[in-house]
């Protein structure tokens, strides 16, 4: 560092407007993708139905966003690029923000770090253009234009070479741009998006094309998500539409059996705005907590909408963080809402499982011959024909085989999990349903049933606590101490009784009896960490659940036990009646369903 000469006092001066805008740009625009985000959000605020994004060289050379929104008149254009100029709020009520943008910074910032050109034509008026270079505004000139607005940003960061140096490769900047558009597109299924890469001035490659979807919002969203996340996601996602106390949670949440190894398929929005909010992501994890093992992550696209007054989006320049007026309400809506939806979808295991099974079964080479579809007998005819061929008594050789016992018990196959037909390898139950067959892992299924029963028992009976003869005293940091004491009442209801013990120490007086002699200190350390991270402590319940889960494992039907038909059917009926029975305690599926059409495909009968 160059230190100034000792006798010359540095003079304090006001920075000029261009410098101020460049500094602000540093907050709002850190890379091309953030410029795209600002511009696309502007387009959405302008009520666009179709938005096209073109970029060249990862956005460093060109970013162009074209929309068919309301457009701006010639008088508006110079104001649009001035700082803190916006049409979106009148400044009197920063708490009531209904649009994406509101800070009035985006265009001013972009104009200060690149060559910005805005061409806009409101419907039924003339088009005009304004050019801003390195913060200096040109004159507004009339020109021809389609209705809407085209914003062109060339040579981004040419005015701030330092920033330019820190950009990544063109390819990774380009993929960031696509990602930003994908995210925004998820929340706006009714708007069409096209992302095109431009090479040497010519459109070279369409990166992403999303046509505007029509009709009911959920159907539109489902089609949009199918395009963005694949058909697998939507086939395995449950529709979420819950409302409570003015908060509305909507979107799609995947079944636990469609879990992911990382959190990449978690997309959360608040009033349509993509957010990276720890509170919300934490709540999502808690909601799936009971049905997924710790190293699996749920997949979900959820939008939390509420009165803008109840959420503060003016926390972060890029608006990726929000603050709720009642964070507890938002959190509990996500948790209980998702849990309800998951419980209702309880007897629906991931259909990808069936597909995966089929793929595993399908022969390598494609089938070349086809049956005459028209002359094909119906399934029931086939079934009857098969029954007619079956021997009346099992041949002696077969009777010796312990596996694959056929159990001809009359049971309605109209139930969702059907009627048990056989047990194979003393672990798998094959059941026939109205539309296909179901293969059940008897141990996993029964383990889940016992676990749910134990939990229900515990919830009904309350949590017995063991008082400690020698209270465990822990010294905490003052923030941990305050956080813990705030949660003391909630923890006491879970059987962990703590009291302040002078200064920043707490004394653990009682622990849940089921934990036996577990270390109260380690337990509390985990609880404090989670209170800090998520404002809640699932680990306490988790530890108790883990013990129940272990008890369930010991108390359930093992693999390798022969089951009679009555037992198998009873198990199936209980699975239907038990919420969350589609996966075992570790998130593995308890059953796989193969549709008749899937089976027919296997045999090339499609």
């Amino acid at each position: 560092m160059n230190s100034p000469a000792p006798n010359i006092r540095p003079v304090i001066r006001l920075l000029d407007e261009a410098a101020i805008n460049r500094i602000a740009a540093g907050e709002v625009v850190e890379r091309p993708a953030s410029a795209v985000k600002e511009l696309v959000e502007n387009a959405l605020d302008a009520g666009a139905r179709r938005i096209a994004v073109d970029y060249a060289a990862g956005g460093k050379v060109l970013i162009r966003v074209t929309d068919d929104g309301c457009g701006m008149g010639p008088d508006d254009l110079p104001l649009a690029v001035a700082r803190h100029a916006t049409s979106k709020i009148d400044g009197s009520d920063l708490l009531n923000i209904r649009s994406f943008g509101f800070r009035g910074e985006a265009l001013a910032s972009l104009g200060s770090v690149g060559r910005l050109s805005i061409t806009s034509r409101p419907r039924g008026e003339e088009g005009h253009r304004l050019v801003v270079e390195g913060g200096r505004m040109g004159a507004v000139a009339p020109c021809s234009a389609a209705p809407g607005t085209v914003i062109e940003l060339r040579d981004l960061f040419y005015a701030t070479p330092a920033r330019l140096k820190f950009l990544r490769s063109d390819r990774s900047e380009a993929s960031a741009i696509a990602e930003v558009v994908r995210r925004l597109a998820m929340a706006e299924p009714l708007v069409g998006f096209v992302v095109t890469e431009v090479v040497e001035g010519e459109p070279a490659r369409v990166i992403l094309r999303l046509d505007p979807e029509n009709g009911d919002f959920f159907d539109a969203l489902q089609r949009r998500l199918t395009r963005l996340l694949g058909a697998d996601f939507t086939a395995n996602a449950l529709r979420v539409d819950v409302e409570r106390e003015g908060l509305h949670l909507s979107g799609y949440a995947a079944l636990p059996t469609y879990s992911r190894g990382t959190s990449v398929q978690q997309f959360l929005f608040v009033n349509g705005r993509p957010v990276q909010d720890r509170l919300l992501y934490g709540a999502l994890r808690v909601a799936y907590f009971d049905v997924l093992s710790r190293d699996r992550h749920p997949a979900a696209v959820l939008n939390l909408s509420c009165d803008p007054e109840r959420v503060d989006v003016n926390v972060h320049p890029a608006k990726s963080e929000v603050r709720f007026r009642e964070p507890e309400a938002a959190r509990s809506l996500i948790i209980t809402g998702l849990r309800t939806v998951l419980a209702q979808g309880g007897t629906r295991a991931s259909s990808t499982l069936g597909t995966a099974t089929l793929q595993a079964l399908r022969p390598e080479a494609p089938r070349v011959y086809q049956m005459d579809l028209g002359a094909r007998p119906s399934f029931t005819t086939l079934a009857r024909a098969y029954e007619a061929q079956a021997p009346a008594y099992p041949p002696p050789g077969f009777a010796e085989m312990p596996s694959a016992r056929v159990e001809p018990v009359a049971e309605p196959s109209s139930a969702p999990l059907g009627a048990a037909r056989a047990q194979v390898h003393e672990n798998y139950i094959i059941a026939q349903t109205a539309t296909g067959i179901v293969i059940v892992d008897q141990h996993a299924a029964h383990e889940r049933l016992v676990y749910e029963k134990l939990k229900a028992q515990r919830d009904a009976a309350g949590i017995p606590t063991q008082a400690l003869l020698i209270p465990e005293i822990l010294e905490l940091s003052s923030s941990d101490h305050a956080r813990l004491m705030e949660a003391a009442e909630a923890l006491a209801s879970l059987g962990l009784v703590i009291e302040p013990f002078g200064g920043q120490a707490v004394a653990v007086r009682e622990v849940p009896a089921i934990l036996g002699q577990a270390s109260a200190k380690a337990l509390l350390a985990d609880v404090i960490d989670e209170l800090g991270e998520q404002g809640d402590a699932p680990s306490l319940k988790a530890r108790m659940d883990a013990i129940l889960s272990r008890m369930a494992c010991h108390g359930s039907i093992r693999s390798g036990r022969q089951m009679r038909a009555e037992e198998m059917n009873a198990l199936l009926r209980e699975m239907e009646a038990t919420p969350l029975s589609g996966q075992c305690n570790h998130g593995r599926p308890t059953y796989v369903e193969l549709k008749l059409s899937d089976i027919e495909r296997l045999f090339g009968r499609t």
């Binding site: 017995p464 606590t465 063991q466 400690l468 089921i514 380690a522 013990i547």
Partner: protein
């Protein structure tokens, strides 16, 4: 080294040694027992680096010497040899083998050099005294059920042996607690023990020590320093590190003001607790005690599996009281009562409860209730 020894003598000596050896070892030599032959004795030494057992037995030593060999394997071999056999142990240092022959059976085991065997450094013991085996047996037997198995509070993973002021003067006292219950057992202070530093004897040592205390007539030589404790009979010397920690001030948690007194036949009480706890399906097995006018009602109410109730005639004349306990804890402290009735002293349903054996003040048990 070459010696011959009677099978029964050898088996007894090895049994003690091999139980100290940890089954899973990362240091191979720790799986071995050190055999040293000299004069008319053979000594077996085994260690897990915290505990060392030295066991001496008479033998006919032909050639003095020493070697080490797998403790578990040697013990297994000797155990399976026919009773009354004469066992010959002959070490061949050059080949690294120990030959074991008995009658027509012969074995050859790989050895490791004796120099590698970690012998526990001898240390100065501040206090030496002798105590009769039954006294030590009572002190440790009655306390050990309360030893904690939880590793984070390592200072509770043993029995705290120290000199304390009891109700009738200075005593030798053993205390163990796991934070849920506590046992405090006193015995008359043996001569020469008054300056003994308090030590926490680890759980494994307590288990090994127990094997030295079977003989009612034996006098056990006890040596204590700040870091080690040694218990010795003429044949066996057990040396152990003590737990390096501070035992909590247990006297504060022993309630003094409990006035509601219940007297009950300990065996009847334990059987009744066991019976009603059968219907409890959960792990903590909570049992509720309801006390009123010389009646004790034990009950368990498990919402799903059912309920159980048993009434016992007892001596109780204080106010009505309802209090819950972990059935296992009740069974274990009731199991400590040998001859007399169990006398419980309660305060409130959330307070520690005291138990004594009749009027005997030398054994005190405390158990914390459960909130059900």
């Amino acid at each position: 080294m070459k010696l011959s020894i009677e099978r029964a003598v050898l088996l007894k000596a090895l049994a003690q040694a091999q139980s100290v050896v940890e089954r899973r070892n990362t240091i191979p030599i720790l799986a071995n027992v050190l055999i040293e032959a000299e004069g008319a004795t053979v000594a077996f030494r085994a260690t897990d680096l915290d505990i060392e057992v030295l066991d001496r037995a008479p033998a006919m030593v032909e050639r003095a010497g020493a070697t080490t060999v797998s403790a578990v394997m040697l013990h297994e071999i000797v155990r399976k040899l026919p009773d009354g056999a004469l066992v010959v142990l002959a070490a061949d240092a050059a080949a690294g083998r120990l030959a074991i022959t008995a009658g027509r059976s012969s074995f050859s085991l790989a050895t490791l050099p004796r120099e590698d065997f970690p012998v526990m450094a001898s240390s100065e013991y501040a206090t030496n005294f002798a105590a009769p085996a039954p006294v030590l047996r009572r002190l440790f037997d009655k306390a050990k059920f309360a030893i904690s198995t939880e590793e984070t509070r390592y200072y509770l993973n043993g029995v705290y042996m120290h000199v304390a002021r009891g109700p009738e003067g200075t005593v030798l006292r053993c205390v163990a607690t796991d934070g849920h219950r506590l046992a405090q057992i006193d015995a008359a202070l043996p001569e020469g023990a008054s300056a003994m530093p308090g030590v926490i004897v680890p759980r494994k040592t307590v288990g090994e020590l127990r094997k030295l205390l079977e003989d009612d007539e034996a006098q056990i030589a006890v040596s204590v320093s700040e870091t080690k404790v040694r218990f010795a009979t003429p044949q066996v010397t057990l040396t152990s590190k003590v737990i390096d920690g501070t035992f909590p001030d247990y006297s504060r948690v022993i309630p003094q003001g409990n006035t509601r007194k219940l007297e009950v036949d300990a065996a009847e009480f334990a059987k009744a607790v066991d019976r009603v706890a059968t219907v409890s399906s959960e792990r903590s097995r909570a049992v509720k005690l309801t006390l009123e006018d010389d009646r004790l009602i034990l009950s368990v109410n498990a919402p799903d599996s059912g309920a159980a109730e048993e009434e016992l005639a007892v001596a109780y004349d204080a106010d009505r009281l309802e209090i819950g306990f972990n059935a296992k804890y009740l069974l274990e402290i009731a199991g400590q009562v040998d001859r007399e009735n169990a006398v419980f002293l309660f305060n409130g349903s959330g307070d520690p409860t005291l138990m004594r054996e009749g009027n005997d003040m030398s054994a005190t048990y405390v158990v914390m209730p459960m909130r059900v």
